[in-house]
């Protein structure tokens, strides 16, 4: 694209104020929604405190047990995780943690419902929480079955006020826990990290040791992503050899060691054997985005088509002076992309505002969405794709105008 055509594109947009305004409203709204969605997905799937190592983390979130007369899918039990991810060769660390549990804190006459996770001490080494005061509970605390808890600053403020909390106790579900540390609040989108209070797993009963299904998730920290295939292979071998003593003959156990995205996808389709779940989910996301773009794109296509007659003499002139169809298509698509990039820039500003609003409402607990360089990059890519997607057909129609008719200001 040369400077003259760039200037032309901007002048055409400036001259056609109503067209530009209508187009920009549609484009901006579309891109705001897509950029907000991108920011939320980025907040879930891209590494960020306290999941700074998310790129190296693999999860076990679902176990399926199948036999002739049974099909059962659930979260893994403690025993299953002990046999499948404990000391995986090549892994840097592993940990188990429960799914979110609602726990009640009694503070004076107050009854405060809170979200709790039970975790292993190694959990604190895999995730890098920001400790405002105190420190994580230790293997010694765990071994001694000490009632210690880590709480967020938000919970501290609610239960104890804003002063120092370490060493004080809270009544959690009728039991007194000593606060060992206070961490900065965590957004709910940081799935493996989110809770308001964390306590040790505590005494591991024989029943827990045997449990194939339960309420746990497992996390493995690899040394690098390159180790993922080997870790997954070893995990699959362990699952294939997993034969709990109390299983009925013919029962097969299935599970997967998944990246954050795969871990979200696998339970969604309720099928631990479906290794393509991530692909299916990715396809659904892309299809939804495309579907969402289609209506405003059609609107833009219609607006562009209505302008063909207005631009017809220019097309005739360009053809007369040697512009091939392909060059004209490129010119008009580029003009449309400039329009969508303008919409993208506006959308970016409104996305920042929308995310700030989301962060300040309780709609998503402890939301900390922001627009980083990656989200900005994705946003601009979406804007360019939207520009090409909605610009190609009108550009193709314009470029195939008969030059004689075009010079007469004429019909398609």
């Amino acid at each position: 694209m040369n400077i003259a055509n760039l200037k032309l594109a901007l002048r055409v947009l400036a001259r056609r104020k109503v067209f530009t305004a209508i187009s920009l409203v549609g484009i901006t709204l579309t891109l705001v929604v897509l950029m907000v969605a991108t920011a939320i997905l980025d907040n879930i799937f891209a590494a960020g405190k306290p999941e700074s190592n998310l790129d190296r983390m693999l999860f076990v979130t679902v176990v399926g047990r199948y036999s002739k007369d049974m099909s059962q899918t659930s979260q893994p039990g403690y025993g299953f995780l002990q046999k499948t991810i404990r000391d995986l060769p090549g892994a840097e660390r592993f940990a188990y943690f429960t799914q979110l549990q609602t726990a009640v804190i009694y503070s004076g006459t107050q009854r405060i419902e809170t979200q709790m996770k039970r975790t292993m001490p190694s959990y604190w080494q895999i995730l890098d929480f920001h400790f405002i005061e105190g420190a994580p509970f230790t293997a010694a605390d765990d071994a001694a079955d000490r009632p210690v808890a880590i709480i967020t600053d938000a919970l501290r403020d609610k239960v104890l006020g804003s002063g120092p909390a370490v060493g004080r106790t809270i009544n959690l579900g009728g039991q007194q826990y000593r606060i060992a540390g206070v961490v900065s609040r965590v957004p709910i989108t940081r799935i493996s990290a989110y809770a308001e209070v964390w306590v040790p797993i505590g005494a591991v009963t024989a029943e827990l040791q045997r449990a194939t299904i339960g309420e746990y998730n497992g996390v493995v920290l690899a040394r690098s992503r390159d180790d993922f295939p080997a870790l997954k292979r070893e995990f699959n071998t362990r699952v294939a050899n997993y034969k709990p003593a109390d299983d009925r003959p013919g029962t097969v156990t299935r599970s997967g060691l998944d990246t954050a995205f795969e871990a979200l996808a696998r339970p969604m389709f309720n099928n631990p054997e479906n290794m393509d779940a991530a692909l299916v989910l990715r396809t659904i996301f892309v299809s939804l985005a495309l579907l969402f773009m289609t209506l405003p794109a059609l609107n833009l296509v219609t607006l562009n088509l209505s302008r063909i007659l207005e631009r017809a003499p220019e097309i005739g002139v360009r053809k007369a002076f040697g512009a091939p169809k392909r060059t004209l298509i490129a010119q008009f698509v580029t003009e449309n992309v400039i329009l969508t990039l303008l919409g993208g820039a506006l959308g970016f500003v409104f996305t920042i505002i929308a995310l700030a609003v989301l962060n300040h409402t309780s709609f998503i607990p402890e939301a900390q969405f922001n627009v980083n360089a990656r989200v900005f990059g994705y946003g601009m890519l979406i804007a360019i794709f939207f520009g090409v997607f909605s610009g190609f057909y009108p550009a193709w129609k314009m470029a195939r105008l008969n030059p004689v008719n075009a010079l007469r200001g004429g019909a398609l």
């Binding site: 003259a4 003499p313 002076f321 030059p403």
Partner: protein
Amino acid sequence: MITLNNIDKVYRTERVETLALQNINLDIADGEFVSIMGPSGCGKSTLLNLIGLLDKPTHGKLLLDGMHINGAGDRSLAKMRNEKLGFVFQSFHLVPDLTVLDNVEIPLLYRKIAAGERKKLALAALDRVGLSSRVHHFPTQLSGGQQQRVAIARAIVGKPRIVLADEPTGNLDSAMGDEIMGILQELNEKDGTTVVMVTHDDRFAQQTGRTIRLFDGRQVA
């Protein structure tokens, strides 16, 4: 330079078939200044469009510089138009959102020419038509005669061998018309550019080397 053999041009719609040109045979030599005359609707512009490769004949052969153009595709037609032909239109057809300089650069955009060189050539073409002082104006800021001079600069900036002018004086008063005619004559005489001009004005036709007369799509002289 330009050869038309038994050229017919038929326009078809669902209901009507219009014979716009019938059995046209024409040779235009390199360096000629030819005018095409005839009443409205006789096919003058259609003939010019065929010569300018903007349209294709229904029957017959058209050769430009010895090359058959009948079967040529979009890219090669575009290349031939860009390199060999320059157009001047009755209603100027300047792009309103581009400056005079940017308008004149249009033909060069479709050649591999650097921006600096494009600007140099465009300024030279504008200088030739006496409009160096208006390069940053927009077409609507110019008079009709000035706009047509910009259009001529655009037609000659790529140094084509042939300039096709479709009633270039039709929208101008006689003084302006004379001015434009003078520029076309100079192009023909000094540069040896072949000029084919459609005109209604006998006075201008008499100033050309040869006049082709059409009537009802037929060549009558």
